[in-house]
Each structure stands twice: as structure tokens, then as C-alpha cells.
């Protein structure tokens, strides 16, 4: 399956987001890796710094020292270093000696999926869908069962080390109810992170993809619609991304699936097995009465 715009699947550029849904559009081609979003997020949400690894707290993974999304990191800027020839920049001679390193930077965030695995898994109802179509964990209800953690195909929620409850991006719910935009979008100096109604962000993203492709970035594509990223029963993401490299480069699954799709079929197969075991046990244990 190719995902260039010339060979678009009929689902490209569509989403199952509800009317009035609010979300993010994060554009990798505009990100300068300043981490203002990470800092603004931590400041507004009063999240502690990540301790990092080793003596220095530095990972050695380019400029990335927060590694991934987690209980105390709700925006995570990924730094991908690639040889320029590998990002399809046709304005440079491919393979020219001494061609520069290309840097891809992407501010990752909770996808606030249209159908969210974490929300469906949550056995206490702590995870709810808000009036903005975003997905929020109510901290006064979460009991730390941890089922949302492996239920997320993007690896977003995580149990906190200190309070043992699940945490993730709230899309600044407390700011939204007061008519403010999320802290990360507010802080982004290049508008790599945009906030707004999905109905406006989606066409903007498609325009941007087209623009980038016209400029020669053949790998530019939208991530988070029904065709890629928001796949497998998720019906789209409320955090869209414009990517210029395959999603896997940023640790994003290309065609993730809503885990709860498996519940009914697996219960049915288990029930069939149960009937078989009942009949088999009956046959084995039968004796003269």
C-alpha cells in the first residue's frame, strides 16, 4: 500500500471525529525542536522534570532527553537525524558527498482518538470523553489498575511513579473550559502545533501536504485520518500530524488497531472452547448411575 497522494485511498483525508471536535495539528516540517511545548506543558500542568538517565540525565539520542510520552511528559519532541538523501529532498543532489544531515523534529502528543483504546479499556469509567471530543483521565476516579497502559496503540498513558495513577495529556481541559488554547499550542513559536476544530485542521493539513509535495517533499503525508494512523476501528485521531517520513521513524504505528475490536470475537471463541470442554468433560466423566 502506497500512501502518496497520487494513489490515495478513498479514506484519505476523512475522519470520524464528532461535530465540533477540537484537536491538534502538529506539522513536522515546521518544528524547530525548541521544546517550548514540552516546557509549557510541564509548567501549566505542574509536571515534574524527567530525571533522565545516567549521571548527566542525558540520553545521547540526539537532543531528546525525555525519550517518550509518559506520566509526566505529555508533549514529547522527537529528534530524528537522517542523511539528507533519505528524506527525499529532491532540491539536493541525492548522495552528494558531504550532503548535510537532515533533522526531523516532531512534537508527539496523546492522539485523543475518535474511538480510544484507553477509554474503552478503563474499568472504572475514570477515562471519559469530554464535550470537546477529547479524552481525559479523571484523577479522582482512577484506581491505577493500569489496563489503559497496554490498551493504547500509541503508548501514551502511563502510571505515575509517585501516585500510581494513570496520566496523560488532557488537551488542557482546564484551559479549554475557560476559552484558552492548550499551553503547548500557545507556546509554539512556529505554529508547528496548531489548535482548533478538527473540521478546520483537517483541510489545512491536506493543503499543507499538497504544498509540501509541490515543493518536492514527496514523503509528506497526513497522519491521523482514517487511512493512516487513525485506522483499525479508531476512525481517526483528534491530534493530526503532517509527517515527511514514514510514521515508524517517529515510533508511530502506520496502521494501528483499536484493541477492543478483538473483545467480542475473542469472547465468542472462548465460549466455543468452553462448550467443547463441557461436552468433552461430560463424555470423559460419564459413568453408570
Amino acid at each position: 500500500m502506497t500512501l502518496s497522494t497520487s494513489d490515495r485511498s478513498p479514506l484519505t483525508g476523512t475522519t470520524g471525529a464528532r461535530a465540533g471536535a477540537l484537536g491538534f495539528l502538529t506539522d513536522v516540517s515546521l518544528c524547530i525542536g525548541c521544546k517550548a511545548c514540552e516546557v509549557a506543558c510541564k509548567q501549566w500542568n505542574q509536571l515534574p522534570a524527567d530525571s533522565g538517565t545516567g549521571i548527566t540525565g542525558l540520553t545521547g539520542f540526539s537532543y531528546d532527553n525525555t525519550v517518550d510520552l509518559g506520566a509526566t511528559t505529555w508533549r514529547h519532541v522527537a529528534f530524528v537525524e537522517q542523511a539528507a538523501t533519505t528524506v527525499d529532498r529532491t532540491w539536493e543532489a541525492p548522495g552528494a558527498p558531504g550532503s548535510p544531515t537532515a533533522w526531523l523534529m516532531l512534537s508527539d502528543v496523546c492522539k485523543h482518538c475518535v474511538h480510544a483504546g484507553c477509554l474503552e479499556a478503563c474499568p472504572t469509567g475514570a477515562i471519559v470523553r469530554t464535550e470537546f471530543d477529547t479524552v481525559v483521565i479523571q484523577q479522582d476516579v482512577c484506581n491505577g489498575c493500569g489496563y489503559c497502559v497496554p490498551a493504547c496503540p500509541f503508548g501514551v498513558p502511563q502510571l505515575g511513579d509517585t501516585d500510581r495513577k494513570a496520566h496523560k495529556c488532557t488537551l488542557c481541559y482546564d484551559r479549554l473550559v475557560d476559552g484558552l488554547e492548550p499551553a503547548c499550542a500557545k507556546a509554539c513559536p512556529t505554529e508547528s502545533i496548531r489548535f482548533g476544530p478538527i473540521a478546520e485542521l483537517l483541510p489545512r493539513a491536506l493543503d499543507r501536504v499538497e504544498q509540501l509535495q509541490e515543493r518536492g517533499v514527496a514523503g509528506a503525508h497526513l497522519y491521523g485520518d482514517r487511512a493512516i494512523g487513525g485506522t483499525g476501528g479508531m476512525e481517526g485521531l483528534n491530534a493530526l500530524f503532517v509527517l515527511t517520513a514514514p510514521p515508524e521513524v517517529f515510533n508511530l504505528p502506520a496502521a494501528p488497531e483499536l484493541p477492543q475490536r478483538k473483545v467480542l470475537p475473542a469472547l465468542v471463541s472462548t465460549a466455543i472452547a468452553a462448550v467443547a470442554f463441557i461436552l468433552g468433560s461430560g463424555a470423559a466423566l460419564r459413568g453408570r448411575r
Binding site: M1, T2, S4, D64, A78, V80, E81, A83, T85, V87, D88, G95, E120, P123, T124, A126, V141, C142, N143, G144, G146, Y147, V149, P150, G155, G160, D163, R164, K165, G219, H221, P246, E248, V249, N251, P253, A254, A255, P256, E257, P259, Q260, V263, A266, L267, S269, T270, A271, I272, A273, A274, F277, I278, G280, S281, G282, A284, L285, R286, G287
Partner: protein, 357 residues
């Protein structure tokens, strides 16, 4: 495994992704090493925190459910001298069920908030279904064991004892058995409905596998108790052995289907310490050795046969625990492997390309 700087070649993206995973064609990306996708080898999903508490819950919950079902079936179709199977099954079920809620509550990040599980019932959340299923089954198991204890004269003939004697043991068993089977099998569904590659890849088989293991463990536990009791009729022991052996064959078939169906995703099941537990614990101790011992026991008699039977039962019980252990641990290993995760969710559905190296 290495970072994206040496491996990923986004240039293939527009034309076809089958060449991705190799170094670029010349130039600065001269690294020809075949490298998987991903981001510095950092896990693409988060694994759960579940460890021994959950492994033991899967084990005890399975035995509790399957023992209850076997007791009900023995009551329904067994010979009159097989009454003790039902009796032992009910006691065993209740005994195995007792630690289950304790293990589950202790595993919570905030155990004091366990009761919030009862705020909602969510049909698409196996954990929510399991909470209610386990609670309801707990009621049946408690009533059944009370009725059994009253029949056995253990509750005296006071108010409680007289009331418990009036409980309809068989009707309770029939009504509670669907819940018992659910408790024995839903844990596999719970794991299957996650993003963890090793659990979700063959989602349809994990529930039946746990159910089969629950049956083999419960039957072995009953066999063990029967073997240690004096004066059990040989016919009863024979029928129990027949059930145990056929359960082991079923478990072996489901395990093989599951293991082979995983493909490269199942690699953690064959590697390192987990691989040894799979070979020696699950397959060797849990299935192969007991089948051999039962075959030998079937052609011998007397005390030696009984010893073989006891060893076989203990071996199956250990194998059942080993199965829960390897499924949980190997699942966590696969969650930590971005090649497994991203390979399974590749857009072109070619997991082997990404998850092997």
C-alpha cells in the same frame, strides 16, 4: 538495533516501502546494515505493570472456575461413586477463589480505591466484565461450598447449617457454571484486547488456551486430592485420568496452534530464560511429562501407579503456572520491542519484513 540516523530511508515512502529497512543507495546513507524501523529502539507502546500478583491471579482464577465446572459436570453425569469429584471440586474452587480478589486489589496502583471498579459495567472492557463476573461467580462459589459443607455436616445443625442444607447444590452448580467458565477464560481475552503484539496477534486463541490450562490444572488438582484420599474407587480415578489426559491433548493442540500462529512475534517465547520456562515448564512439565507418566501408569498397578499419578498431577499444576508466567512475561518483552509493535501495525501488513533481522 540502532537509531533512525543509520537505518530508516524515508525516501522510499512515496514509491513503495518494500525497500525500507535498508540503508539508502549510496551517499551519506551508506550504512547497508539492515535495520528495523523505530526511534532509537525505544518501545513504541507501554507495557503493563502486571507481574506475579496477576500471574497468580490468572492461575488461581482459572483453577477456581474450571474446578467449579468439573464439579457440576461430575454431579450431572458421573456415577454415584463419583460424588467425591463434585465435593472436592466445590471445595477446591472456593479455596482457589479466595486469594483472587486479594491479589487483584493488591495489584492496583491505589488499592484503597478498588471499589471504583463497581461504578460501571463496560461490555467492551474485559477487565470490567471480569470484575463483575468474578464477583458474581464468587457468590455462586460461596453458596455452593456452604451447601457442600452443610451436607458434610461441617456447619453443624444451627441456624446457618440448617439453611445451608436447604441450598440446591445441583441447581446452583448449573447456574454458576457459565460464570465459572467465564472466569477461567476471560483473562486470555483481557490480554488479547491490548496493543501488546504477543497477546493480540492470535487474539482468538488466548482465551481458549487459558481455559484449557485452567481445566488441566483443576482436573490435576482434583486427581491429586483423590490420589491422597484413601478408598477412592478405581473407576473414579480412571474417569478422572481420562478427563485429565484428554484435557492435556486439547491444551497441547491449542498451544501449538497459538505458538505457530504468532510467527516472528512469538520470538520472546523461544529466547533466554522465558524460552527455557516454555520448553521445560509449559511443554515438558505441563504437557509431555504428565502424558508419559499417565501412559506408564496405565500399564502398571498399585502403589507405583499412584505415585506416577501424583507426580503427573503436580507436574501439570506447575505447568499451568508456567504458562501464565510465560504469556505475561513474553508479552511484556514483545511490548518493549518496537520491531514487533511497528511490524504488526505496518501499513502494508508485512510484519515479517519489519520484525525479523
Amino acid at each position: 538495533m540502532s537509531g533512525p540516523e543509520s537505518g530508516t530511508t524515508g525516501g522510499d515512502w512515496g514509491e513503495g516501502r518494500d525497500r525500507r529497512g535498508r540503508g539508502g543507495s549510496g551517499g551519506a546513507a551508506s550504512d547497508d546494515a539492515v535495520i528495523g524501523p523505530g526511534y532509537y529502539g525505544i518501545p513504541a507502546i507501554h507495557k503493563p505493570h502486571w507481574k506475579w500478583l496477576i500471574i497468580f491471579y490468572f492461575y488461581f482464577g482459572g483453577i477456581a472456575g474450571a474446578a467449579y465446572a468439573v464439579a457440576t459436570i461430575a454431579d450431572a453425569v458421573g456415577a454415584s461413586e463419583d460424588r467425591r469429584i463434585g465435593r472436592i471440586g466445590r471445595y477446591l474452587s472456593f479455596a482457589a477463589l479466595l486469594p483472587s480478589p486479594i491479589l487483584l486489589v493488591l495489584d492496583l496502583g491505589r488499592p484503597e480505591r478498588f471499589f471504583l471498579m463497581f461504578r460501571v459495567l463496560k461490555l467492551r472492557s474485559p477487565m470490567s466484565l471480569g470484575t463483575w463476573g468474578l464477583t458474581a461467580f464468587g457468590g455462586f462459589s460461596a453458596l455452593s461450598v456452604a451447601a457442600q459443607a452443610a451436607v458434610d455436616g461441617r456447619l453443624g445443625d444451627g441456624f446457618v447449617g440448617r439453611r445451608a442444607q436447604q441450598l440446591p447444590i445441583q441447581a446452583l452448580g448449573v447456574a454458576g457454571t457459565p460464570l465459572a467458565l467465564f472466569v477461567a477464560g476471560y483473562t486470555g481475552v483481557l490480554l488479547a484486547a491490548t496493543a501488546v503484539p504477543l497477546w493480540t496477534k492470535r487474539a482468538l486463541l488466548l482465551g481458549p488456551l487459558f481455559l484449557a490450562s485452567a481445566f488441566s490444572s483443576a482436573v490435576s488438582a482434583i486427581e491429586l486430592i483423590v490420589a491422597l484420599m484413601p478408598s477412592t474407587p478405581a473407576a473414579t480415578r480412571h474417569r478422572l485420568t481420562r478427563l485429565g489426559v484428554s484435557t492435556l491433548f486439547a491444551e497441547a493442540a491449542i498451544f501449538i496452534a497459538w505458538r505457530n500462529g504468532l510467527g516472528p512475534t512469538g520470538r520472546p517465547l523461544g529466547e533466554g530464560a522465558t524460552g527455557r520456562v516454555v520448553r521445560l515448564g509449559v511443554v515438558g512439565g505441563g504437557i509431555a511429562l504428565p502424558l508419559v507418566l499417565q501412559a506408564v501408569a496405565s500399564v502398571t498397578t498399585g502403589g507405583f501407579a499412584r505415585i506416577l499419578s501424583v507426580v503427573s498431577s503436580v507436574s501439570v499444576l506447575a505447568g499451568g503456572l508456567a504458562l501464565r508466567y510465560v504469556v505475561v512475561v513474553a508479552g511484556n518483552t514483545s511490548a518493549d520491542d518496537p520491531r514487533a509493535t511497528l511490524g504488526m501495525t505496518a501499513a502494508d501488513g508485512a510484519p515479517e519484513r519489519l520484525s525479523t533481522h
